[in-house]
Symmetry: C2
Subunit: 442 residues, 2 copies
Amino acid sequence: MSEPVIPRGFRDFPPEVMILRKKILSKIERIFQRYGFDPFDTPAIEYLETLSGKYGEEAENKLMWRFKDPWSERWYALRYDLTVPMARYVAMNRHIPMPFKRYHIAPVWRHEEPQKGRYREFYQCDVDIVGSPYPEADAEILEVVWKVFREFGFESVKILVNDRRILRGVFEKELSISDPMPVYRAIDKLDKIGVEGVENELKKIGLNEDLVRKIMKTIDLRGDPSEILGRLEEMYRDNKDVVEGTKFLYEMISYLPSGINIVFDLSLVRGLDYYTGPIFEAVVEKPRIGSLAGGGRYDDLIALFAGEKIPSTGGSIGVERLIDAGVELGIFKFDKKTVTHVFIVVLDRSREIMSYAYDVARMLRENDINVSIDLMRRSVSKQREYARKLMIPLIIFIGRREYETSKVTIYHTETQERNEIDKKDLVDMIRKILGGEAGSRL
Amino acid sequence: MSEPVIPRGFRDFPPEVMILRKKILSKIERIFQRYGFDPFDTPAIEYLETLSGKYGEEAENKLMWRFKDPWSERWYALRYDLTVPMARYVAMNRHIPMPFKRYHIAPVWRHEEPQKGRYREFYQCDVDIVGSPYPEADAEILEVVWKVFREFGFESVKILVNDRRILRGVFEKELSISDPMPVYRAIDKLDKIGVEGVENELKKIGLNEDLVRKIMKTIDLRGDPSEILGRLEEMYRDNKDVVEGTKFLYEMISYLPSGINIVFDLSLVRGLDYYTGPIFEAVVEKPRIGSLAGGGRYDDLIALFAGEKIPSTGGSIGVERLIDAGVELGIFKFDKKTVTHVFIVVLDRSREIMSYAYDVARMLRENDINVSIDLMRRSVSKQREYARKLMIPLIIFIGRREYETSKVTIYHTETQERNEIDKKDLVDMIRKILGGEAGSRL
């Protein structure tokens, strides 16, 4: 006998979790489709060299699930995000019509230290527009991500935006930091480790106190984009990068629908290396759970594979945080243990009655109703207890009387109503009781 | 620049493939749900020791994707099938109500030599009933698998059945083979390597010619179950295992619906170690593509983790073969390149017209219609060419005239009809044209 152990940092998804997850994921998927994004997938595994040099040092050397195949001695890695594999695909398939608008809902793997709400395998929901250099593409990404949160009922969702060109202009030119990526990665932790934490990180990477103070003051700039972008333009009117970034953001915002809550935030930097233009994160006020989605423009990433620049922009929704936040707000509930609509309790196991019970089960299944029937040869009370534990909404009882009269007895657990009805009227009755729930209970 | 290379034996799923795959998988999923199975998932990764000793020597030492994590030095393996991880889950969660009826649609990984139609990552669709020792559970598995093939239109699908107890009775007792697993694995290749191939394999594992001849003669027993089971009962009436197996199969078959084509086949053995009772495979006559699904009873597998016997039975549908067979029979077509219903061509990029075009796009999206709008600032002819390449069924043209009259021009690519209609009538018109296709194009 071997001890049943799940790898540390991983988890199973039992039905009560899967039912909610599938419902959420298919709603996200429908929103992506409505905006003209198409489904797409890549393997869970890539050659390590495909992922190398794309995410930054810590990601590559600490967080990537990399392994040497003992048979071929080749190095592989588990997918770290969904963007780089897509870039690899686009570079291998140069004939695809542009823009390539795809969504990708799939697990990624990271070798994080396991902690509450953090897993080593988790789902991302990505949307990307490959091929367009224009701000209307970035606006579409922001809109579809915002739409997801609004349709789930996150009223307070805000989209924080910034632009890597503005950051570059400020950090490289104004503050003379030649390699700003480590600075960005320190600032990116602001939410987690606070102002002092970031200051310490910045000092650790060798910045003097004066510069650290200047950085902290600079990034403390947030608010209504039209106001802040105006101030930035004024402050840095000779800084080509800042001007380019602000102009692009202005235009991007002009394509957004009214009602979308955009906040410019100069402390928004994103930790990944590959961003080149607008960057964004979606946050909700309550609960304070950090960012629920993020993304940005990455015009140079595909060139790392294709040799040629293919401007692209995209966003990624973190399903685990979305679910955690939604559960905390009461938007989501793990309230279904099964998709089964009807459990058939057999009162008498004689041949003709069993056969009648199976006829009923098959008739309902043919009519898109989800049915289970006793498979354990249990007593009637044990069968009912099973249906109750799974919170199955309808129980059908079939015994000799029902068989002889071509009827069934149906019990609705919610209303506690019990009726004897003709077999031929059963489908209509169940459909009426279930309402929109017939078909799929997801 | 790094060369864009996908790992050998793996493949990407572009939209035209994903659209068909998702449609097929969600149809399978709905059938599983109708039979009362619930969604379930486990991690892609397990500890190697969880998977060890479950599948047989070749699987474990040649086909499993195993790797040592360079950080923790611990051995992991990618999921080899969906059954063993589920067994591990059940053993870890002894409180779940029985029977536990779950489906699991997910990729598994095998280190096969890549060849046409064989990949190192492929999907399995599993249904299992955990907790029931009774033949009605096995019958339900057979029925749901058969239902999948019938609902897809595989008219000629046959279910081959056998029972490991019958095999044990014949091979261990009658033919005095003390360790029959290697013999089963040789016989399991009959479809691939033919009679002579199997004979050679049997000789290779040390069986003498006389015994090989006897085995080949014994397994050449197939046909209508009531006839063959009767013959077996007569031939081996003192063989406890054979009697038990035939009795169980008789009863199992009595629970099946009429119309299901069951063939008893003594050469059906299944290659995996863990089966203990009925085993089955679903095959179609045309195309001759081998088995499309298989499974059986494995009463002792969960005990390897739980210490206690938890009788279980299940089946697995191989999606890749199902798709290959369906494409060959003309049942499935890769005929959609996008889920997008409508492409909006903007004739004039002035501010008010763009804004009107976005209003139209948002109105349609709110009404569950999938819409793309030009994001490339291309000429009208280039925009039309893009819509044509993706085979988008409807094109909407928006220019000054449309803007000033609150109309749009709509072009239906199939009928080549072009109409100018009021914006307020657009949703209804599109719904009428798309029919059942509105909402999801999957």
